[in-house]
C-alpha cells in the first residue's frame, strides 16, 4: 500500500537509494517502515521550547556530491587543526557532507578486531553486527524525527570494540559540512562489548556559512558489562542549519559512560542527551558546555535514567547566553522503582551576557524508589561584578577579565575533552562566540 506522503522522498526513492548503497534487506525494510510510521508519530516535545515552526522535515537533497580526501595533508585547514598531528597513529574518520572521505585505522585497533568505518560500509560488511545494535538505544518509533532519521540515514560512523579490548588512544570522527545544500541524517553507533574500553571524539564542523538545511543526528553509545565509553563531541554547525541531535547511552552492569559535549552550533538546536543506566552498578557522567548567541534558540535536555541498583549519574552543564539568544537547560535525573542505593546528582549553571538573552535552567528529579540519594543545583546569573573588580584590580582590562571569567566558567567541561586539538578548537570557538 502506498500513500501520498508529505515527505520529500517516498518509499520508492528510499528503496532504490538503499539498493544503490548495496544495503542489506533488513536495513531497506527498516527505512521503509520508519518512513511509513513517521506520519503518525508526534514531533519530539522539548520542554519549554516551541518547535512547531521549525523545519525538520522539508529539504531538497538527500545526498550531495563531495570529493574524498586521499591523505591527511589534503584536509582543509579547519579540519587539520582538529587532528592531533603528533599522534599520526590515531584512528580517524572524516566524512564530507554525506560522503565517507577519509579513513585511517591504527594498527593497534586492526590487530584487536576493532571495527571502525562509515555507516554504509558497516551495513555492507558488518550487517549482522550493525543490525544487532542499530536503532536499539534510540527506537525508530519514539517520535517523528527518530523515524525520519532511520528512513533517511545518509551518513555516520560505526565503532565496535570487541570483548576485553582496551583502546587507549582516542578514536576521532570529523563530520565536515562544506556544501550549503547538504542535509545531514547522521548516525553514529558506538559499541563497547563487555570489559572493553574506548575513547571516541567527534566534531561536527561547518565551513560554509551560507547553509540552509537540516540536521538530524542520532548517536547510540552502548556499553556492555564492565565496559567504558568516553564520548567527546564538539558541534559547530552553521547558523542556517536547524539541528535535532539525540545522543543516547545504554550502560550495562558496572559499565561507565562519560560524555563531554561542547554544543556550539550557531543555528536553532534541539539537543537531547540521555544515559540509561540499565545494569546494576553502572555509572553515567554528562558534562556539557554551550554558548548561545545571535537570535538562535536552543534546548538542551539532559537525562540520566537509573534502572540498575547502585547506579550513579552525574550531570554538569554550564552555558553562556548572549545577544538575544534563548537557551533552555532541562536536566532530568530519574530513578526507577527498584534502582535502590542509586545516586542522581546534577548541576546547571547559566551565565547571561546581555539584557536580551534568555536562559532557563530546570532541574528535575523524578524518583520512584525510597532508598536513594539525589541532589541538584541550578542557577541563572550574570558575570559577578566583584570578580571583575578583583581581576581588574590586578591590571587586567575589563574585556580580558570577562574572558577569563567566562572561560573559567566553561573550563570544567572543556578540560575533559581528550584530544588536545579538539580542546583547543573548543576554546577558540568559545572565544569567537562570546566576544
Amino acid at each position: 500500500m502506498t500513500t501520498e506522503t508529505k515527505w520529500p522522498f517516498d518509499q520508492e526513492y528510499i528503496t532504490s537509494f538503499s539498493k544503490e548503497m548495496s544495503e542489506p534487506a533488513w536495513l531497506t525494510e527498516l527505512r521503509v517502515q520508519s518512513l511509513e510510521k513517521a506520519e503518525d508519530l508526534p514531533m519530539p516535545k522539548p520542554d519549554k521550547t516551541k518547535i512547531n515552526k521549525w523545519n525538520f522535515t522539508q529539504f531538497e537533497k538527500l545526498l550531495v556530491k563531495s570529493d574524498v580526501f586521499s591523505s591527511i595533508d589534503e584536509l582543509p585547514e579547519e579540519v587539520k587543526a582538529l587532528v592531533d598531528q603528533e599522534a599520526k597513529e590515531n584512528s580517524l574518520y572524516v566524512q564530507r557532507n554525506n560522503k565517507p572521505a577519509y579513513l585511517q585505522l591504527s594498527k593497534e585497533m586492526q590487530e584487536q578486531g576493532v571495527v571502525f568505518t562509515d555507516i554504509f560500509t558497516a551495513a555492507r560488511e558488518y550487517s549482522d553486527l550493525l543490525k544487532k545494535y542499530f536503532m536499539t538505544a534510540v527506537k525508530t518509533d519514539e517520535n517523528r524525527l527518530t523515524a525520519l532519521h532511520a528512513a533517511f540515514v545518509n551518513g555516520g560512523a560505526f565503532l565496535y570494540v570487541p570483548k576485553n579490548v582496551q583502546i587507549k588512544n582516542p578514536i576521532q570522527a570529523i563530520f565536515l559540512h562544506d556544501d550549503a545544500e547538504a542535509n545531514l541524517f547522521n548516525h553514529v553507533l558506538v559499541v563497547a562489548e563487555d570489559n572493553s574500553s574506548l575513547t571516541y571524539v567527534e566534531n561536527y564542523i561547518s565551513t560554509t556559512g551560507a547553509a540552509n538545511g537540516l540536521v538530524n543526528i542520532v548517536t547510540e553509545a552502548i556499553a556492555g558489562a564492565n565496559a567504558k565509553i568516553q564520548y567527546g563531541a564538539v558541534d559547530t554547525l552553521a547558523a542556517g542549519l536547524t539541528t535535532y541531535v539525540n545522543r543516547r547511552g545504554h550502560a550495562g552492569r558496572d559499565a561507565r559512560i562519560e560524555w563531554a559535549l561542547g554544543l556550539m552550533n550557531d543555528g536553532n538546536t534541539i539537543s537531547e542527551n540521555v544515559t540509561n543506566l540499565v545494569g546494576d552498578g553502572s555509572y553515567g557522567d554528562t558534562k556539557m558546555v554551550m554558548v548561545g548567541r545571535g537570535e538562535q534558540t536552543q534546548n538542551f535536555t539532559t537525562s540520566i535514567i537509573h534502572f540498575g541498583k547502585n547506579s550513579e549519574g552525574y550531570i554538569l552543564k554550564h552555558g553562556v547566553v548572549k545577544d538575544s539568544a534563548t537557551s533552555i537547560f532541562n536536566g532530568i535525573g530519574k530513578i526507577e522503582h527498584g534502582a535502590s542505593k542509586s545516586n542522581a546528582e546534577q548541576e546547571s549553571r547559566v551565565l547571561m551576557l546581555s539584557e536580551k538573552a534568555r536562559g532557563d535552567a530546570n532541574p528535575i528529579l523524578l524518583i520512584d524508589e525510597d532508598d536513594v540519594t539525589a541532589g541538584h543545583a541550578a542557577s541563572v546569573g550574570r558575570v559577578d561584578p566583584l570578580q571583575l573588580y578583583y581581576l581588574m584590580s590586578r591590571g587586567i582590562p575589563k574585556t580580558e577579565a570577562e574572558r577569563l571569567v567566562i572561560h573559567g566558567f566553561l573550563a570544567p567541561v572543556v578540560n575533559e575533552l581528550p584530544i588536545e586539538g579538539v580542546k583547543k578548537q573548543l576554546v577558540e570557538v568559545i572565544e569567537r562566540k562570546v566576544k
Binding site: Q387, Y389, R394, G408
Partner: protein
Amino acid sequence: MAGSVLSIKDLHVEIEGKEILKGVNLEVKGGEIHAIMGPNGTGKSTLSSSIMGHPKYEVTSGSVSLDGENVLDMAVDERARAGLFLAMQYPSEISGVTNADFLRSALNSRLGEGNEISLMKFIRKMDKQMEFLEMDLDMAQRYLNEGFSGGEKKRNEILQLMMLEPKIAILDEIDSGLDIDALKVVSKGINEMRGEDFGCLIITHYQRLLDYITPDHVHVMMQGRIVKSGGPELAQRLEAEGYDWIKKELGIEDETVGQEA
C-alpha cells in the same frame, strides 16, 4: 629617582547613599610604610576600596592622585597599571582560572603588548616567589582562591603583590585569620618589598603585624576620618591601652561610621 606619591585629599565616599568617609586626608610616599588602625566599622575598608575603584563605592568629593595623576578618573585596571595594588580583605574566588594563568595575564597587562614575559621566565619568577612565601607549588595550578583557606588566600594576595611589584600597595587586614607562622611569612614578603620605590598602607586592627613590620607612620580611623596620627609608638600605646583614651580625648562616644562626632 624618588618613589611615587599617593595623595588623598578631603575624601568623601558614599555607599548606597550613606556617607561613610567624611573627609580623609593622607599622603603615602615611596619608601614609607603607613599603618591605619581602628576598630571595626570605622571606614578602613571603604577607604581602600574607593582608592582601588570598587564599583559599590561612590566618591562624592575630594581627590586621590598618584604622582599628580587623578586616580578617580581611571578605571580599576588603569589604577592598577598606574602602580596601585590592593590586597583585599575578602579576595574573590574565580573558578576555572588557574592562579598561574591569572597572574600571567595580570603581569602581561602591566608590561603591555609586545613586552610580555616569556612563559619560562614567568614560571621561574612565580616558583621563586612561592618558595619565598613557603607556598605549595601546586597552588599555581589551582583555581584562583577557590577552596583556599583564609591563610592561603592572604598568602596568595602577597604572592600577587610580589609578582606585580606595585608602586603603592594597600593591604587591607592582611593579618586577619593568620596564625603566627603565616603572619611571619606574610610579613617577610612585605618587608622584602620595602624600598625607595615602594610605599605601603597597612590596614589592621591589631598591633601584632606591626611587631614584624615597623611602620613609619600610624593613623587611627574613627567615624570615617583619620582622627589621630603619630609614629610607631602610637601603635604600641593602642596595643597597651586600647582605643578608649582616644575616644575620650576626642569626645567620641561611638567610633563607627554613621554616628555624628
